[in-house]
Symmetry: C2
């Protein structure tokens, strides 16, 4: 049997038909067009799913379930979206509406949980019992696996490591607090740190990069400049990896998982990033002579959203 995995993002709705091993057999996407009524967006999910199946000769009788990862807070028991700030959604009965359209059982979850699940079922954390997945993207999301299951907490509000404190009086965060991990470990943090470094040092190459792009710069550009040996970009990389390493140390001190997996856009820096973090974390640990978690890059990249969503029924049954 196959499952449909849907990754609902602020820009696109990505739909995939996925086998039970987590291999995507077919996929397509349509623009989300944020601002439309939720019913229209949900209808487009169904249309895109049916269309993808038809184009690839997959019949509805081959489909066991549908999973959807949403960029917000999901009640995975009722299947309601509690809210998605970026989509202006609040209390949307996503499961009920999508089941009415596709006539298959629908499961929903938060996108960071879904990506953590994908890595656990078919990626970097496969075979481990406890792991923490960090998405280092526009913000910092996380999903926690404990005893082989996604950890939802007692009220469905946990697994938000992006909002634990690194620096209580630090950068202001959209959540209302100051100094959250999100403000120091996201892609946006790299941009802010690069701006500060440019102002502080006046580094010519870094300034040129900012000016070339109308004073905008991406995390990737900063890290590419660091790889080339530019001192200001290396200082940003140093600061960023210090913050990320301290966050991983916090995860060890709190939960001590078997594995920490780094995903999201920033993790595309690959070994350059993970090598730096692996070198720094041991020096931060409370018990410096004891074993601690592996730190690995996510394996599934941007397809984790589709793959993880396709597994939501499987894990809800276990």
């Amino acid at each position: 049997m196959l499952n449909i995995g849907i990754d609902l993002g602020g820009t696109n709705i990505a739909v995939g038909i996925v086998d039970e091993k987590g291999t995507i057999l077919a996929q397509d996407s349509v623009p989300t067009k944020v601002g439309r009524p939720s019913q229209e967006i949900i209808r487009d999910m169904a249309v895109c799913a049916r269309h993808t199946m038809e184009k690839n000769g997959i019949g509805m009788e081959q489909i066991k379930s549908v999973g959807v990862g949403i960029p917000g807070l999901a009640d995975n028991k009722t299947g309601d979206v509690i809210y998605c700030v970026n989509l202006f959604w609040s209390q949307i009965p996503l499961k009920r509406e999508l089941e009415a359209l596709l006539k298959k059982p629908v499961y929903i979850d938060n996108d960071a949980n879904v990506a953590a699940l994908a890595e656990y079922m078919a990626g970097a954390s496969k075979g481990t019992s406890s792991s923490v997945f960090l998405t280092l993207g526009t913000g910092v999301g996380s999903g926690i696996i404990i005893n082989g299951k996604l950890w939802y907490g007692a009220h469905n509000v946990g697994g938000e490591i992006g909002h634990i404190s690194l620096q209580m009086d630090g950068y202001h965060c959209n959540c209302g607090n100051d100094g959250c991990v999100d403000r120091y470990c996201s892609a946006g943090a790299i941009t802010v740190m690069a701006q500060e470094e440019m102002k502080k040092t006046g580094n010519a190459e870094l300034t040129a990069l900012f000016e070339k792009n109308g004073m905008k710069i991406s995390a990737r550009e900063v890290f590419d400049l660091a790889k080339s040996g530019n001192s200001a970009a290396l200082a940003v990389f140093e600061r960023y990896t210090n913050c990320l390493s301290r966050t991983i140390d916090d995860i060890v001190a709190f939960l001590d998982p078997e594995l920490v997996v780094l995903g999201g856009g920033v993790s595309k820096a690959g070994e350059f990033l993970v090598d730096a973090v692996r070198a720094k974390v041991p020096g931060l640990l409370l018990y410096k002579e004891m074993p601690f978690c592996d730190i690995k890059l996510a394996k599934l990249g941007s397809e984790a959203g589709i793959i993880g969503a396709s597994f939501l029924q499987t894990v809800s049954e276990s």
Copy 2:
């Protein structure tokens, strides 16, 4: 059947004979006299246990097991003490040696885990499935219960919430990092904050309290002064409860337990402390409209060490 619970501290070895409901039937203590060979300290545990039983007419045949809470890192599988910095212990086969002396199965664990277990089996967190216990004492210790079991992590190095970061560039911590929760939420933190407040404001009452005690002040004295309405002491109380509230918010954002339990010396401030924290935490939460954990005071006080240790066999079997 009864169990022996032993609370090994830096000052005293407290021994109790405990029934299966967690009621202490008899107890006694002897000085630890730190610096002696571990064999002598372990022998004193056994002697004190036998003596307490004899004095209270309890025979060895009534004893099922012995549990010991240690102020350090325990390998609860082998029963070896990995290390106790305060006792200058490293790699001590505590289980093996104490079993040889008492001829009963011995179980050991970290003292914060033991106190968390006591509250879970017979105190504030009884009946919950997930909880975090914080001991606000000389340092900040913690014990985590997940799915009704003590959480040891994958390498036995977790449950150290005292060493997650609140303020990355803040007060230096003995662990080597800066700005750990320990430096902002322990009894010692209250003393440091009071010193800073005294220097900043020159507050007469606070200064007098310092001078009365040869420039030493306890957390309790600062909080008592705050209760009386002194502005400088209230400023310390405000700062301390801000830090503790942010730590609880971090626990919610990370793990989202059913309950957070506050124990240790600082928690003796009682409702004065917990009311302040309960008032502050909701404003810090990421999901402000969602339910979150209860925050309660520990129930068992200083006896939690004996009671929790007495339950170590029970939970190791489950």
